[in-house]
Symmetry: C2
Subunit: 213 residues, 2 copies
DNA sequence: TGTAATACTACCCAAATGTGTAATTGTTTG
DNA sequence: CAAACAATTACACATTTGGGTAGTATTACA
C-alpha cells in the first residue's frame, strides 16, 4: 500500500511537476496538493496523510509554521522541507519545528524520491549542504572559546558560578576565601568583557567555555 | 589523480577489508593503514593524506582524540568516522572534534564509498540513524522548555536578564518599575526552581527557554 | 637570577540583588 | 459572577555582589 502524501508548494508549475514525479512512484500516492499551508493540520487529518512535502516561502503562514502546526496535531506524520533557502535560521527553525528532513530544491528528482523513501524508513534525509551547515553548527563553539585566556583556576571558578553557586559556596568548594573568589571573578569579568555574573554565565555558555551538555 | 587515504582501525581483518575495498576504487588510493592513531597527525603529514577513515574504539588514544589531533595540525584533511558506536556523546564529541562525516559500521561498502566521495565534494555524509540523532538533538529543547509555564512577560524579562541587563536596565527597557522586575524575577526563579539570577540564566540557556544563537 | 604571571588574602564601600508582605487592576475561565 | 491568574507597584530588610586598593607566596620563564 503506497504512502499517502501531501504537497504544499505555492508555485503551480513546480507543484504539478512534483505531483507527476511522485505519483509515478509505486510507493507513493499524492493524496492532494495545496498552494499554502494555512490549514495544513486539517488537511493532513482529512487525507490521513503519512508524509508531507513542504515548501517554506508561501503566502499566509510560512512552511516553518506549517510544520509546527502539523506536528502539534499529528506528530507521527513525516514532514520533509523542500525549499531553496539554505540559511542557518531557516534550517534550524524548521528542524526545531519538527521537520524530519530538509532537501534543497536543487536536489535531483531521484534524490528527492530517495529522501522520501528514507524518511519513511525512519531516517532524516538532508541535502549535503544542509548536513555541512549542521556540522558547522556543532563545531563553531570550540574555536573561539579559547580566545579568552582564562587560567585553569579561573575556568574552575567560572564553572562553579555557572552551576548556580554563590560566592560563598564557590569559596567553600574551592577551599579559598570568599575574597579570593571575588578577585578571580573580577578578573574573569574583565577577560570576558562583561560586568556581572549573569552576563558572564551567558557568555560562558554561549561560547561553550564551560561544558555542561 | 586519486585521493590519498589513511585508515585507522584496530581490527586487522576489517582494516584489510577496507583497504581492499577502497583500493578497488579508482578515485581512492589507500596510502597506509594503522591499528591505532596515537601518531595520527604525523602519519597524515608523512603521507600527505587527503582523507582519513577513523575508527573510534582503538587502543591508546581513541578516535575522537585522533580527529582532534589531525584537525589541529591539518585542518583541511577530511576525516570520516567509521564505528559501531551510535550513542549521542560519541557522535557529538566526534563532530565537535572536527569530524566531517559519521558512518556506522553497518553501512554497506557501496554506501561507504559514496560517503567518502561525498565528503571530498564538501558534503557531510552520515548514516541515517546518525542524522536522526542530530535532528532529535535540535528538537528536544523545545519540548521540555515549555514545561516551566513562564508567561510571555516573564520570558521577556528573563531574556533581558540573559542578555546581561541589570534590574534597573530591565525596568527601563520594559517600562515598568524596578520593583516589578524584582517581583517577576522572583516568580521566575520559583518556576525554574532556582534561587538566583546566574542559575536562572544557566537554566534558561540550557533548556533554550530563550533564544540567542 | 630576576621579573612576570598566577594564586591567594584582606578590607572598605557602594550598589545590586533577593525575600517577604501587601495591595491594585485587568483578564480569563469555570 | 466569583475565583484564579497575570501584571503591576510599593516598601523594608538582609545579603550578595562588584570595584578599588594593597599586599604576600609560588611558580614559570627568559
Amino acid at each position: 500500500m503506497p504512502f499517502k502524501l501531501l504537497i504544499f508548494e505555492d508555485n503551480t508549475r513546480l507543484r504539478q511537476s512534483l505531483e507527476l514525479l511522485l505519483n509515478d512512484e509505486t510507493n507513493f500516492h499524492v493524496a492532494a496538493s495545496y498552494p499554502d499551508c494555512d490549514k495544513a493540520d486539517k488537511q493532513v487529518e482529512k487525507h490521513n496523510a503519512d508524509l508531507v512535502v513542504m515548501d517554506i516561502d508561501m503566502p499566509g503562514i510560512g512552511g516553518v509554521e506549517g510544520v509546527r502546526k502539523i506536528k502539534n496535531t499529528n506528530p507521527d506524520v513525516k514532514v520533509v522541507m523542500h525549499t531553496m533557502f539554505d540559511d542557518d535560521n531557516r534550517i534550524f527553525d524548521s528542524i526545531c519545528a519538527g521537520a524530519d528532513g530538509y532537501m534543497l530544491k536543487n536536489t535531483s528528482p531521484l534524490q528527492l524520491v530517495n529522501a522520501l523513501q528514507d524518511v519513511m524508513n525512519g531516517g532524516a534525509p538532508m541535502s549535503p549542504f544542509v548536513a555541512q551547515k549542521i556540522f558547522q553548527h556543532f563545531r563553531q563553539a570550540k574555536t573561539d572559546s579559547e580566545q579568552f585566556n582564562l587560567t585553569a583556576r579561573e575556568k574552575e571558578i567560572l564553572e562553579l558560578l555557572v552551576k548556580g553557586n554563590s560566592y560563598k559556596m564557590i569559596a567553600d568548594k574551592s577551599n579559598v576565601s570568599i575574597d579570593t573568589v571575588k578577585k578571580h571573578l573580577q578578573n574573569i569579568y574583565h577577560k570576558l568583557h562583561v560586568n556581572c555574573g549573569t552576563e558572564a554565565v551567558a557568555k560562558a555558555l554561549q561560547h561553550k567555555i564551560v561544558k555542561f551538555d
